[in-house]
Structures are given as C-alpha cells and as structure tokens.
Symmetry: C2
Amino acid sequence: MGKHEWTSVPGEILRAGEGFRLRDVDPDGAPGFDGDKKHGEKHLAARREVLGDLQERLFAGSRVGDAPDAVLLVLQAMDTAGKGGILRHVVGGVDPQGVELAAFKAPTPEELAHDFLWRIERRLPQPGFIGVFDRSHYEDVLIGKVRALAESDEIERRYDAIVEFEKRVAASGIRIVKVMLHISREEQKDRLMERLDRPDKHWKYNPGDVDERMLWDDYMAAYQAVFERTSTPEAPWYVVPANRKWYARLAVQELLISALEDIDPQWPAADFDVEAEKKRLAAS
Amino acid sequence: MGKHEWTSVPGEILRAGEGFRLRDVDPDGAPGFDGDKKHGEKHLAARREVLGDLQERLFAGSRVGDAPDAVLLVLQAMDTAGKGGILRHVVGGVDPQGVELAAFKAPTPEELAHDFLWRIERRLPQPGFIGVFDRSHYEDVLIGKVRALAESDEIERRYDAIVEFEKRVAASGIRIVKVMLHISREEQKDRLMERLDRPDKHWKYNPGDVDERMLWDDYMAAYQAVFERTSTPEAPWYVVPANRKWYARLAVQELLISALEDIDPQWPAADFDVEAEKKRLAAS
C-alpha cells in the first residue's frame, strides 16, 4: 500500500494494564507504527491539524455553555527521555491559548507544609483546556521512594491517595492521560554525554542527574510499583518507548487525540439570535 | 534583487513617538516590508528559528546563574484584530516551556477590591520567560474611559501610575513591548460578519462586540490618549497595521526578535567541571 500509519491503536498496545512489566518493554521499539523516522515526522505534521481542531472545539465548548471537559497529560520520565521535545513538538502544535503547562520542581517549603497533592490540585486544567504536567505528584512516589524522602507507610498511603484523587478529578470532567517516556540506560548515557560535549547544552546538565542515574534499577522498580498501584480505568498509564524521539512524539500525539475524540467536543450552538445580530452588525 | 524582506526596522517605523497620530496610520498598510502575503508567510517561517534560538538562550541564562532578563509582550486591540493569530502563529512558534501567557478578562470582585495594577503585577513574567498579556492594564484606561467605569481624575491618575509601574518593571530586567493591532472599522465589520456566517465561529461572537463597535471613535480617541501618555523609552508603544494578518504577525515577530537581540542572551558557562563530569558519567 505504501501508506505508513498506525496498525494498532497506541492507547491499547501502550497501556500498562493487568500483568504489565516494564522490563518487557523495548525502549528501542516503535510498536504499532508502520514506518520509519521520516514517515513518523510526516505523520506527526499531518495529525497536528486534527489535534488542533479537536482542541479548538474543546475550548469553544467551555466558553459558550458549561461543558466541564478538559484533558490532563501527565509526563514522567528519567532525565533526557524527551519531555521537552513532547512539549515543543506535540503540545507546541496546538493553540497556546488552550494549554496550561505546569512544571513541578522540588517542592518549596510552602508546598512541603501541605499534603503532597495540594500543589497538584491548584494546577489542574480549567474546563476547555489541555493541561500538561511536566513531572507531577508521581515524583512523591518515585524519587520519594528511591531516596526514602518519606517513610514506607507514607509511600503506601500516597498510592491510595493518588488513586482516589484521580478518580475524583476524572469524575469532574478531566480526561487523564499518564505517560512514562521509557528510555534505556545506555541511551541516557549518550544523551547526557551530548550535553557535556556541547557548550550550548551545558545549561541542561546537572551533576545530580548522574547521581539519580546510579539508582536506575531502583527507579525502574519504583515505576513498576506505580504502574501496578495507580494504573486505573479512570487514569491509565501508558509506557511509551522513547529511544526514538520521533516515535514517542507520534505516540503521545495519538494518545491526546484519542482522549479528545473520546470527549467528542462539538461546536456550541449560538446563544444569541444570529439573524438579529447580522442586522445589528450591518447597521453599525 | 528578488529578495523580499524588511527595508526598514519595524521597531522604528511602527513606534508611537512624539507627535504620533493614530488617524495617520493606514490599517491596510504593510510599511517597511518589501513583499506580499506569500513572501511574508515565508519570511515568518524563516525567522521562527531565530526567535526560537534567542528564546532558548534567554531561558538558559535564567536557569544557570541569575540573569534577570525577561520579555513582556502586551497585546491590545479592538475585537477581531488578530490577537489570537499572533498567539498561535508568532508566540506558538517558540518553546511553550518558555512562555507565560496571561489573558485578562473583566476583573473579578477580588481583583476589583485591589488597585488595578494588582492583578497585572502577579502575572509579570519570571526571569528567562517571554510573558504575553492578551489585554492588560490598558483596559482600565480604554474601556474604563470610554464606558466611564471610573471618574476622569482616576483615569488621569492611572496614566501616571502605569508609567511609574512600567518604569519599575523595566528596571527589574523585563523588556516591555506594547503592541496595538490596528484594524479599520470596515475590516472589523467583515470579520464579525464572518463569525456570524460560520457556525464553527459562533462561539467567538458576542453581541457585546457590536455595542463596543458603536463606540469606535471613542475607542480610537482613548487609544490616542494612551499613546500620548504612556509611550515611554522604557515601554514604547508600537501601532501595527493589522488589516493584513500576515503583516501584523511578521511585524510582531520582528519586534520580539529585536527585544531579545537587545538583551543579547548568551549560553551560560557550565557551573561544574565538565571533564570531571564526563569521567563520572562514563563510569556510571
């Protein structure tokens, strides 16, 4: 056929469901897409319009009437896995007026004085928006667990608290799409080395990145626990192979499109008399 | 030569300086650019990379070290003048991680309980960011004046307060670029009519838009007063002819590039021992 496209639904094959094992995922893979980098980039550009149209409908529905729908994309990954590229190349393709981006760093003293979900709740997307979390409450059960920043029974409590929290968020009208970008340990070494080799990339390098890297297996175990404890029907996890950047971008784009298609936002009907307004405008 | 490009510096010819008169600006014009729509769109795409590179340097400088620099783009216009298109096509071309967008609507009761600059101050861009105001504190001397939402001596006070405020903001390291997108009254009628003709645009139409339109001359007089009272060396106004959308986008892109070039952000030097880190990484 010569047509390069998805042969499986990304939302189905990438989903961390019952019995999922992170170690079985090949970070070099490009599952479900029939094509190479060149095809992938072309497909990404072609689907941008579909995503943009859906986003605009979502936004419109919240401006007129009171559609409660929104989308929340949660991005988690080891350093250098490509969160920034997703933001530039996938999220950057939609109207910035309809996007709310929140980057969660190490918590401030004020944030630490509250429950770990306090700062998260405050950044949930409003109706009509696509919210994107660059890191999230999952840090509190990832670095929080690996670095033992909290007692283990507190970590246990958090898994359950997250599930309840996300259930409530989903019920309020927010479609939650949780993505882990999965790179290999070797790929990370190459990418960090590139940052060291290029003076225009030095600012992206942090010696602490290597400290976390040394704990790679512990992080993978913590991610595995996250998938087992928090991948729910209301807020599923998707594990996206990310050694090939073009594939990861394509897959996340498709996950966003699916979430929006699931909402199926419609252009809202006019809440004014169109013909009367035409006359009024013509006379003005 | 066959090369289509700027023949004058937009920041010079579009600036509302001493003796500026809004009525002398032709909204149909494309001053300083040698080319038509096709050339303009090509030029916009070509300059996107320059803008993106400067933005990344600006961002980098604030992450390592403590460069205080930021940019604030203030967008003001009559309805349908194309603010949204500037956001999509100019601002949308840079990394969303480096942009802070604030849309100012009619003030909330909480906002009204404070001075009119209170909500503005809270949304100023952090160092390293490009902040964009979709409407701004200028509403308080535009609709505020035209609709007499405040006494005339309060309006007078606001002009001076704005000048002082912007002087302080500029001194803190924020380059302020204030843009009025200038369309003609006839062009607005056509654009509003298009919104009424297309069901997928009804959500963008508001009967109140026609009410404001009826006060066109009052608004132009209020803008003229704004330019006379608040176009300062620290925070100049630029009036951009906007009947041709491609020209307005091109001009605003160039104004942003100029502001960034004026900052001239450099890649920050590594604050760690690069060779030592390479060894540590190689061993990890």
